[in-house]
Symmetry: C2
Subunit: 358 residues, 2 copies
DNA sequence: CTGAAAGCGCTAACAC
DNA sequence: GTGTTAGCGCTTTCAG
């Protein structure tokens, strides 16, 4: 003799104010139980505390009413928000969207959401963003903005805020991170070049305040040594930014200085792009005159002419793994922090060939 | 005789549980006023209701305590969340990041935030996402996923949910939107081609269930007429997706069918890319044999060979304008809904030239 | 197993 | 101008 269900509201789409959304109390009343019982019945964690029959009734009523728990009220009570902060430099940099999707896809699977903020690499914006996210009670953070020395992240780690880094790491800290195996990637790229017969290889190194920049440079030096190649300082150009212009400038200077090289290992694809520009400007052909390999496998670098050979970083997986790490951390704050190194792959296209000139 | 301020806590960065974050009550106690008064003093909207002296004292105490209002508690009380939902097909499509940043940048300026969800163009995912966002009490939506016929959006509009569309619109509905002026863009592109001397121009039309697809096609036909060009059905290829493969397929079929053309107007850059592929496959050169113009000015299309001439849509501004429209709507729900058409620009690069072959 | 009661932090009537 | 009171919707002791 349950009362007839009320006129079914269109599930999922409620009016701004046309019909008040049902609350837990409504469900409880309708089901003839106390709100606390309804709460227990509806929450998977506590469902076992309530009589199975009652629980089913509550569920039926909830469905028929189109009841949806109010996460805000729940948050206020539990001080948990089912949300995390995802801090990136700039969404329009094609590196980051796959990471974001990786994070969101795994988070979404367990009812979590991410607040995304762009810092444009401005520490002040970053601090403000973190503060604002903390106000919104995020339970943890994923940062793609780590610098080698990063006071904010160090402080966050010190006070135990659940945090996972992606792509980049701090100089010294045990903050869990998910990064590509830069050293491995560089080794692959260098072996590729050496196998092709190249002996004079230059490196366009990225900013040395970021772990990626220093790791790739270090690995380059290691590869030089491993392959018995001369480690001349002239074979190295430090670029102040991961930007096309910086890459072009570096290669132009190399050329102007009369440095001999048949191949260049660019710290990333943007630098490689700049390299293409500078080479073209000097009437040098790629790969006939010089081979170049990039890093990241950005969208459309396969459309360049020649298509860019590059080291692919599994960005989506980076994001997904980071989300897993963070969730794990949130569930069991005690578990020791792990970091993950993801394998990279060389994508061999047309921008590398055996050296023609000495 | 104000009591000495407590030891200053590191502002902005609080421990997970080390020190409890100060609440309004703490501030009120410290300032010797009732929480309600503190609330009024701290809230710009109501600050005028309280004695200026008292208000200043409250502010001082709040600062010294590092007090930050809890948006969750406020939301629960006010039923407003200072957040909106931003629904896009896929963040990894380079079209969308600039839109997202446009939205977030203006929203952030007034204390709003956006929840971003990806639907992968799946209506079921979209419905689920909207529902989940409604649970989170978003105050409104920006949709980049509109189809000509879109029951969900129609329902949302019907019940008065503040909503703004970007890029695409519905067939018939007065939902406010911010889009590029597709008709104008196509007209510019066609005039460009005609001025170059092209008379045989084909159009690779995008999906016809999206407003962009039909608007660009309609404008193409209009341009044919305006310039006195023959409107032969063979000069048109409908593509089932905005994808490179679809573009390649279309052009290949055109070639196979012996259709004569010296220029192609691609519905978007991806289609243009496919066009490049198909042309190359047949040993045809661009722009020597055929000129192509794209649509969108995606990142890196200036790096193709030849660099793609395309119609640029100001995506960032689209997002920014949409945010403004939505905010306005949230402040004054009554104000009549406007839609905005943003001017497009032709980016003339190297992929168009006077026709060589007839 | 279920109900009662309290309270998360804040704001909005309503008094005074 | 300020305090009082109540309550947003939910969870969580604590009793029974």
């Amino acid at each position: 003799m349950t009362p007839p269900p009320p006129p079914a509201t269109e599930p999922g789409v409620h009016a701004g104010s046309a019909v008040r959304r049902p609350t837990l109390k409504d469900v409880a009343n309708e089901a003839g139980v106390h709100p606390a019982t309804a709460s227990r019945a509806l929450n998977p964690e506590t469902r076992h505390l309530v009589n199975d029959e009652t629980a089913q009734r509550v569920h039926r009523v909830a469905d028929s009413l189109g009841y949806q728990p109010n996460p805000i009220a729940r948050s206020l009570k539990t001080a948990r928000s089912s949300s995390i902060g995802l801090v990136i430099p700039d969404l329009t940099n094609p590196l980051f969207p796959p990471i974001v999707r990786g994070v969101e896809d795994v988070l979404g699977g367990v009812g979590y959401n991410a607040w995304i903020v762009n810092t444009d690499n401005d520490p002040a914006r970053e601090t403000a963003a973190v503060e604002s996210l903390q106000n919104r009670s995020v339970e943890g953070f994923v940062f793609a903005t780590a610098r080698l020395h990063h006071p904010l992240l160090e402080r966050l780690a010190a006070i135990g805020t659940p945090t996972v880094l992606v792509n980049r790491r701090l100089a010294m800290s045990d903050i869990p991170s998910v990064t590509g195996d830069d050293a491995g990637g560089v080794a692959m790229a260098m072996r590729h070049l050496v196998d092709l017969g190249h002996r004079k290889i230059v490196h366009l190194a990225g900013p040395q305040d970021l772990s990626t920049g220093v790791n790739r440079l270090r690995a380059f030096r290691q590869a030089l040594e491993d392959h018995g190649l001369e480690n001349s300082p002239s074979r190295l150009k430090l670029c102040s930014a991961w930007a096309e212009t910086a890459g072009a400038k570096a290669v132009t200077e190399l050329l102007d200085d009369g440095v001999e090289f048949t191949a260049v290992l660019a710290g990333n694809d943007l630098l490689a792009l700049g390299c293409y520009d500078a080479l073209a400007e000097r009437g040098l052909s790629c790969p006939d005159d010089v081979s170049v390999v990039g890093f990241n496998d950005m969208p459309f670098v396969d459309k360049l002419s020649p298509p860019l050979t590059t080291v692919r970083i599994p960005h989506y997986e980076v994001g997904a793994e980071a989300a897993h790490l963070l969730l794990e951390r949130l569930r069991a704050p005690s578990r020791s922090a792990r970091s993950i190194l993801l394998p990279l792959t060389l994508v061999n296209r047309k921008s590398t060939a055996p050296p023609r000139r000495l």
